[in-house]
């Protein structure tokens, strides 16, 4: 298990050059999540465009894993219908709980496949999940998803 398997170049690239970082002018739902063990923060915002596609705004401070994860999330789910975004979110959650044994589908997860190595480091899984949990929370707060079963409206 090499350190390069954790910090793949894709992750370091998203960390150094975050995509779409910034806040929305008129968010529907906002969720501010912190990792209480380390203080990492992500402020996630959602809204929908006229065509129903997701608009994503975010800011945050924290380690390379948490901040790169937010950038990858932005690239993957923006513009998608909420239901499609949720499928990707669930695939990412599954990847994180795979203990590193999964063979992630690049068709679904895109750059997020680079996080497969993170799943081998239990202490870092929470870092990678932080923006994705905030996304769900923001969608619920914005009325784009119901709390009870995670179903999309």
């Amino acid at each position: 298990m090499s350190i390069e398997s954790l910090y793949q170049d894709i992750i370091l690239d998203h960390y150094k050059n975050p995509r779409g970082r910034g806040l929305l002018a008129a968010p529907l739902g906002v969720a501010f999540h912190v990792n209480p063990t380390c203080g990492d923060e992500v402020n996630m915002q959602v809204a929908t465009a006229a065509d129903g596609g997701l608009l994503i705004g975010y800011e945050g401070t924290g380690c390379s894993i948490s901040q790169a994860s937010a950038s990858v999330l932005y690239e993957l789910v923006r513009g998608l219908p909420v239901a499609e975004a949720e499928k990707i979110r669930m695939a990412f959650l599954e990847l994180m709980h795979s203990q590193g044994h999964a063979e992630p589908d690049e068709e679904v997860l895109g750059d997020a496949i680079a996080f497969v190595g993170v799943a081998k480091y239990p202490a870092r899984i929470k870092c990678a999940l932080l923006p994705w949990m905030a996304l769900q929370d923001a969608e619920i707060k914005g009325g784009l998803m119901t709390e009870a079963n995670g179903d999309q409206k």
Partner: protein, 426 residues
């Protein structure tokens, strides 16, 4: 470093012989979180379970007598280590429980007084009263007092910090006054390493009639401490940071204060008489030890005391001081590295927090971990202290008796490796 022979000490700690992360020798620099245990401590616990295990202070059979004897001998041994008599030593689950025990004396007394129970007025709080802590407290010596204030209407005050990570002592003049009912301060900061002038602060607290509490978690394992010399009414610390087992903490209290405090946890063992209408309580320390006691842990802690005393606490402190001076010198001159806490080794312990420009502490810690070096990353349960220094988190090394200068060299190498890996100009 005369006195402490690290190679010989290391041989006493089985865990330090293992490898981590693909066969790298373990360099353990997280003793501020918990220390490793020498074989003497492990053997003592095991021997107790194999020969004398029974519930202490109950039953009249031989094993019960032996267990009671072992538990009370451990209490005496731990007391002796810090210059206290047996009856002044309360065993708790950990230092967090010790500090809660102290804090609950105030909220419980305040609640009891409302319904007519006679309590010592020093523990009765009301709006207008104040509680004083510092801006460098571990959450365990902050949140219990926030809770006390929320329950009683008292106001929480704190001593601010200088940019060098020391207490702003000039602020005491305004912070301690006739409204001050309790002053609870950390002896040695777990995040900054600062050693505070607690005797002076306790004297100021007593001058206004306030109860004085000291969190000694990071001092008693690392330097000679005579609890009476601190001048505190109550002193809390844990066993697992001083080579002992987890599951046991200590609260020292003066006889006068322990008598005046109401119990915290209640139930078996802590009573004198029990009737359906009400109960009376045993004298301290039993009054504060409800439930079956953690005898094996107490026996293990006594063995840890034996181990530390055989080394000599002066020698332990001198060894750590040398490590601290060396680490401050090296880290202090490393480009891109900023020490959070005093930059000089005077009045400072060996816990050293730092940040590396351009690399989050989590990532620094991960690179070190990959080299077999165990450090702590995060806010170290001192989030307000991180905020004070405008950092989200830090990386912390906290060496102990089984570390030597080469371990500090390894950390420096690891930081440089992290700077290379994350392509940060250094």
């Amino acid at each position: 470093m005369a006195g402490i022979e690290v190679a010989r000490i290391k041989a006493d700690f089985p865990i330090l012989g293992r490898t981590v992360r693909d066969n790298k020798p373990l360099i353990y620099l997280d003793s501020g979180a918990t220390s490793q245990k020498p074989v003497e401590v492990l053997d003592a616990e095991r021997a107790f379970y194999e020969t004398s295990n029974a519930a202490a202070h109950r039953g009249a059979h031989q094993l019960a007598e032996e267990a009671t004897g072992a538990y009370e001998s451990a209490r005496a041994r731990v007391g002796e280590f810090v210059g206290a008599a047996s009856e002044n030593i309360v065993f708790t689950k950990n230092a967090t429980e010790s500090l809660n025990l102290a804090a609950y004396a105030f909220s419980n007394s305040t609640a009891l007084a409302r319904w007519g129970t006679r309590v010592d007025p020093r523990f009765q709080l009301k709006p207008g009263d104040s509680v004083l802590v510092t801006q460098m407290e571990h959450h365990a010596n902050l949140i219990p007092w926030q809770e006390v204030c929320a329950k009683t209407g008292a106001t929480l005050r704190w001593i601010p910090l200088t940019d060098d990570g020391r207490l702003e002592m000039s602020a005491l003049e305004e912070l301690i006054d006739s409204s001050t009912k309790v002053v609870s301060v950390v002896h040695q900061s777990n995040i900054l390493g600062t050693i505070n002038p607690v005797a002076e602060i306790m004297a100021r607290a007593h001058a206004v009639g306030a109860v004085g509490v000291v969190d000694a978690c990071q001092s008693i394992p690392h330097m000679p401490v005579d609890v009476r010399a601190l001048g505190a009414d109550l002193v809390a610390w844990s066993g697992h940071k001083m080579l002992g087992p987890t599951g046991i903490g200590v609260l020292y209290g003066t006889g006068e204060i322990l008598n005046a405090m109401p119990p915290f946890l209640t139930g078996g063992s802590m009573i004198a008489t029990v009737e359906m209408e009400g109960s009376t309580y045993a004298p301290p320390p039993q009054k504060f030890e409800a439930g079956v006691s953690m005898v094996a842990q107490a026996v293990g802690l006594a063995a840890a005391v034996d181990y530390l005393e055989a080394l000599g606490m002066q020698q332990v402190a001198a060894h750590e001081h040398a490590l601290t001076e060396y680490a401050l010198l090296l880290l202090g001159h490393l480009p891109g590295v900023k020490i959070i806490g005093p930059g000089q080794a005077e009045d400072r312990g060996s816990a050293i927090s730092f940040v590396v420009e351009g690399i989050h502490p989590h990532d620094v810690g991960q690179i070190l971990d990959n080299m077999g070096i165990a450090v702590r990353v995060g806010h170290h349960c001192a989030w307000p202290t991180c905020r004070r220094f405008a950092v989200p988190a830090t990386t912390r090394i906290s060496p102990y008796i089984y570390n030597d200068l080469s371990d500090i060299d390894a950390v420096v190498e690891g930081i440089c490796e992290a700077q290379r890996f994350f392509k940060v100009a250094s």
